[in-house]
C-alpha cells in the first residue's frame, strides 16, 4: 500500500468515526457554519464536526500545521476532498478568513502575525470581513478615501466602506486605508487589521432588491489601530489587495460557488410548465431557449472542471479567473431569467418584506449582483482585453 493509499484508508476511517450523520446531508445557505465570537451553533453536530476537523487542521488542510492547518500535500488534499465528497460531508467552516485573509497573511504576514491570527481563523474563533469598496469608487478599488492618520503607535482610521459582506456579523476586518496621503494613488494605501468591536466602528446593513442584506455600510470614526496590525509595509497595501483580488476570482472560479447558481433549469421548467403529448416541454419556444442555454452551461461545467485540474496540477489561474468570473456569473443571470420565465405567473408571487432566499424571484434578483460584486463584468472584460489580448 502506498503512503497515499494508507492516508486514504486512515482518513476514511477517521471520517467514519468523526463526521456526524447530520453533517452528511446536502446543505443550503442557512446551514453554513461561519464561526466567530458570537456564533451560535445550529446543532451539537455542527459544533462537534467543526471541532473535530479543526483539531486535525482540516478546516484548512493546505495550510502549514504551525498555523493551525493540516500541512497536507497536493495529493493528500485531493484524497481528503474525495473522501469528504464520498460521504457528502458538509464543509465544517466557511469564512473570509480562510478564503482571503489567510492566503494574504501566508504571502505577506510576519511570522508573528501568522502565528497569532491564522489558528484563530482555522478554528473559526474569529469571523473576518473585508473592507475594500468605498462609496463613489465603484470599480475603482484603488480610489481609497478612508484615511489612517499616523498617531505614533497607532493609526486613527476615519472613513466609510461599502459592500462589506456580513460586516454586521464579523469580529475583525481586513481593510484598505490611505495612510500616506501625499503618495501617488496606488502607493498610499496600507492593509490594516482591526477589531470591529473597536470604538468608532458602526455598521449598517444594505437592503438589496432581492430583500436580502448580505452587505453593509461600515463607518469608522477615529478608530485606533495599533501599527503592528499592518500587513506588509505602509503604502504597500495595494499589492496585498491585488493579490487578494486575483485570489478571490480564482476562488470564485474554481469552486462551485453560489455565484454560478445550482438550480436545475430543466427540472424547474418541467415542474412548472409540464410536458405535452410528445413528452416535450409544453412551451416550444421557451424550450428552444432552454436548449441553447444548456449548451453553454454544460460547456462551462467543463471549463470549471478544467480550471480545477489546472490548479490541482499546481498552476495559478491568474488572469483566467476573470474568464470564469465573467462567464459563470453571466450564465447564472441567464439561468435565473429562464427560471422566472418557466415559473410564469406563479413565480411573480413574492413578498419583498418576507422574501425567502430560495424563492425563484429572490434568486433571480440576487443573481443580478453576481456580475457586479467581486468586479463587474465590464471590469473583467477590460482586464482580459488588456492582460490577455493586449488591446488598448
Amino acid at each position: 500500500m502506498t503512503d497515499l493509499q494508507e492516508f486514504r484508508a486512515a482518513t476514511r476511517a477517521w471520517l467514519e468515526e468523526n463526521c456526524p450523520q447530520e453533517m452528511r446531508q446536502p446543505m443550503n445557505e442557512a446551514d453554513v457554519c461561519w464561526g466567530g465570537r458570537n456564533w451560535v451553533f445550529q446543532s451539537d453536530a455542527q459544533r462537534d464536526w467543526l471541532n473535530a476537523m479543526a483539531d486535525r487542521g482540516w478546516t484548512v488542510p493546505e495550510w502549514p500545521k504551525a498555523y493551525g492547518g493540516g500541512g497536507l500535500n497536493g495529493d493528500e488534499q485531493r484524497v481528503l476532498k474525495e473522501e469528504l465528497d464520498r460521504i457528502n460531508a458538509r464543509p465544517p467552516l466557511q469564512s473570509f478568513g480562510i478564503w482571503m485573509l489567510g492566503p494574504a497573511l501566508l504571502e505577506f504576514g510576519t511570522d508573528e502575525q501568522k502565528r497569532h491570527y491564522l489558528p484563530q481563523v482555522a478554528r473559526g474563533e474569529i469571523r473576518w470581513c473585508q473592507g475594500y469598496s468605498e462609496p463613489g469608487a465603484g470599480s475603482d478599488l484603488a480610489g481609497v478615501q478612508t484615511k489612517g492618520v499616523d498617531a505614533g503607535d497607532y493609526f486613527e482610521v476615519t472613513g466609510q466602506k461599502i459592500w462589506t459582506s456580513y460586516a454586521d456579523k464579523a469580529d475583525w476586518i481586513f481593510c484598505l486605508v490611505r495612510t500616506e496621503p501625499d503618495a501617488p494613488k496606488h502607493k498610499g494605501i496600507s492593509f490594516l487589521l482591526f477589531d470591529m468591536a473597536s470604538e468608532g466602528v458602526t455598521t449598517k446593513p444594505i437592503k438589496l432588491i432581492s430583500g436580502a442584506s448580505p452587505f453593509c455600510e461600515t463607518f469608522f470614526d477615529g478608530v485606533k489601530v495599533p501599527k503592528d496590525q499592518i500587513v506588509s509595509e505602509r503604502g504597500k497595501g495595494w499589492t496585498v489587495a491585488k493579490y487578494l483580488l486575483t485570489h478571490e476570482r480564482e476562488m470564485i472560479g474554481s469552486s462551485d460557488a453560489a455565484l454560478f447558481g445550482s438550480e436545475d433549469l430543466v427540472e424547474v421548467a418541467r415542474d412548472a410548465i409540464g410536458l405535452n403529448e410528445n413528452n416535450q416541454l409544453d412551451d416550444p419556444v421557451l424550450r428552444g431557449k432552454i436548449a441553447d442555454f444548456l449548451i453553454d452551461e454544460l460547456a462551462f461545467d467543463a471549463e470549471l472542471a478544467r480550471a480545477k485540474d489546472w490548479m490541482r496540477a499546481g498552476n495559478q489561474l491568474g488572469v483566467e479567473s476573470a474568464t470564469l468570473k465573467y462567464t459563470g456569473t453571466e450564465l447564472n443571470k441567464r439561468r435565473q431569467e429562464l427560471i422566472m420565465e418557466a415559473g410564469g405567473l406563479e413565480a411573480l408571487e413574492w413578498d419583498f418584506a418576507n422574501a425567502e432566499s430560495d424563492e425563484k424571484a429572490s434568486l433571480w434578483l440576487r443573481s443580478k449582483g453576481n456580475s457586479i460584486e467581486g468586479g463587474t463584468s465590464e471590469v473583467m472584460l477590460s482586464i482580459l482585453s488588456k492582460a490577455v489580448l493586449e488591446l488598448g
Binding site: 475603482d140 432588491i209 411573480l348 413574492w350
Partner: protein
C-alpha cells in the same frame, strides 16, 4: 418620430403631470413599504379626467377616446410605476363589457365608482384559451367551479368577469366577489400589484350573470386581450424609457477611474442599442393601437407583436439599467430595481414574447 395630434399631446402632458404628482415612483414605494397594493384614493381624479372611460361608449357613460389615448396614459403610468386598476378594469374589462353590450357596470367603471377585474388566467403561463373553469346550467342560472390565477386588481374588484365553459362554448360571467363559494385570495407580487387568485367552489349565479356566450364571448374576450396587450405594451415601454433615461443620466453623472461613465464607449454603444430597441418597440405599439382604433384585422397580430416586443425590450432595459448602475443598482434604496420587478411582471402578464411568438408561428402554419 412619434406623430401626435394636438389632443394626444394634451393627454400625454396631462397624464405625465398628474401621475408624477399623485402616483409617482415615490408613492409606489411608500405603498409597498406600508404593505399596501395600489392606491384607489386617486381613482376618482383619474375618472374625472376621463381615463376610466376611454374605451367605453359615450352612451354607457364613457368618453370613447380609443386605444391610442389609453396607450398614452399607460405609458406615463409605466414611467411612474403607477399601480392602478386602469389596465384591468378600465381597459380590458371595459372593452369586454362593450362587446357584450353591458352598460351598467361599464358606466360604473368609467365613473370610477367600481372596479371590474378580468379573470382569465388559470395556468402558470398566459393561456386564456385553455379554460378549465366550468359553468353548468342549474335552475335559471349556473353553477361555476374552477380556479383563476393572478387576477389583476382582483383584490379590489367590485365585480369579476370570469371565463368559464358552458354547454354552448365559452361564457363570460359577471360575478359579485361576495357571492357564496367565491374566494378571493390576494397575493403579494414582485411588482406589488393588486393581484389575487380566485377559487370558485360551486358558485350559484343567476342567468343574468352570463354576459356573453359562444362567438360573442370569444369576441369580447379577444377584444379585451387585444386592447389589453397593446395598452399593456405601452405601459411596458414607459417602464423601459424611464429605466433607460435614468441610466443615461446616471452614466453622465457617475465617475469611475477619474471620468464619467458616459466616456466609456462600451457603455455608450450598449445604451445606444437599447435606445434603438425602444424606438422600434414604440413604433409597433403605436401601430397596434392605431389598428385597434381603426378596427383593422391586423390588430390581432400587431397587438401580439407589440406585447412581445415590449416584453423583450423592457427585459433588456432593466437588465442594462441595473448592471450599468453597478452596486447601487442592486440596492433597494435606489428605484431602478423597482423597474426591474415591474418589467418582469408586466412582461409575463398577458403573455410574454414566447407566448406570442408561438401564436405567430401557428398563424403562419409552421
Amino acid at each position: 418620430m412619434i406623430l401626435l395630434t394636438e389632443e394626444q399631446q394634451m393627454i400625454r402632458d396631462m397624464a405625465a403631470g398628474f401621475l408624477s404628482d399623485k402616483a409617482s415612483v415615490d408613492a409606489f414605494r411608500a405603498q409597498r413599504n406600508a404593505g399596501q397594493s395600489g392606491d384607489t384614493s386617486i381613482n376618482n381624479e383619474m375618472a374625472e379626467m376621463g381615463w376610466f372611460g376611454m374605451l367605453t361608449s359615450e352612451d354607457a357613460g364613457g368618453v370613447d377616446m380609443g386605444a391610442q389615448a389609453a396607450g398614452l396614459v399607460a405609458e406615463e403610468m409605466g414611467r411612474n410605476l403607477t399601480t392602478s386598476p386602469f389596465l384591468s378594469s378600465a381597459v380590458m374589462s371595459a372593452a369586454a363589457l362593450r362587446v357584450a353590450s353591458e352598460t351598467e357596470w361599464a358606466g360604473k367603471v368609467a365613473s370610477g365608482e367600481a372596479v371590474v377585474a378580468l379573470a382569465m388566467d388559470e395556468h402558470i403561463k398566459h393561456r386564456p384559451d385553455m379554460v378549465g373553469t366550468k359553468a353548468e346550467a342549474s335552475g335559471n342560472g349556473f353553477v361555476l367551479r374552477g380556479t383563476k390565477r393572478f387576477v389583476g386588481d382582483g383584490g379590489a374588484a367590485d365585480r369579476l368577469i370570469v371565463t368559464a365553459m358552458t354547454d354552448d362554448g365559452l361564457g363570460l360571467f359577471l360575478i359579485d366577489p361576495t357571492t357564496d363559494g367565491v374566494t378571493v385570495d390576494p397575493v403579494k407580487t414582485v411588482d406589488n400589484r393588486n393581484a389575487a387568485n380566485l377559487t370558485l367552489d360551486n358558485v350559484q349565479v343567476d342567468g343574468s350573470a352570463l354576459l356573453a356566450k359562444g362567438d360573442i364571448a370569444e369576441e369580447a374576450l379577444g377584444t379585451a386581450l387585444r386592447v389589453g396587450r397593446s395598452v399593456g405594451a405601452a405601459e411596458l415601454v414607459g417602464v423601459s424609457k424611464e429605466a433607460a433615461d435614468r441610466t443615461v443620466a446616471y452614466l453622465k453623472e457617475r465617475k469611475q477611474f477619474g471620468v464619467t461613465l458616459s466616456q466609456f464607449q462600451a457603455l455608450q454603444h450598449r445604451a445606444a442599442d437599447l435606445y434603438t430597441q425602444i424606438q422600434t418597440t414604440e413604433s409597433v405599439i403605436a401601430a397596434a393601437l392605431k389598428a385597434i382604433d381603426e378596427g383593422r384585422d391586423d390588430a390581432e397580430c400587431l397587438s401580439r407583436v407589440a406585447k412581445a416586443k415590449a416584453s423583450k425590450t423592457a427585459n433588456l432595459a432593466v437588465r442594462e439599467a441595473v448592471q450599468m448602475h453597478g452596486g447601487i443598482g442592486m440596492t433597494d434604496d435606489l428605484d431602478i430595481g423597482l423597474f426591474m420587478k415591474k418589467a418582469r411582471a408586466c412582461g409575463e402578464y398577458l403573455g410574454d414574447a414566447t407566448c406570442h411568438a408561438e401564436w405567430l408561428l401557428r398563424e403562419r402554419g409552421v
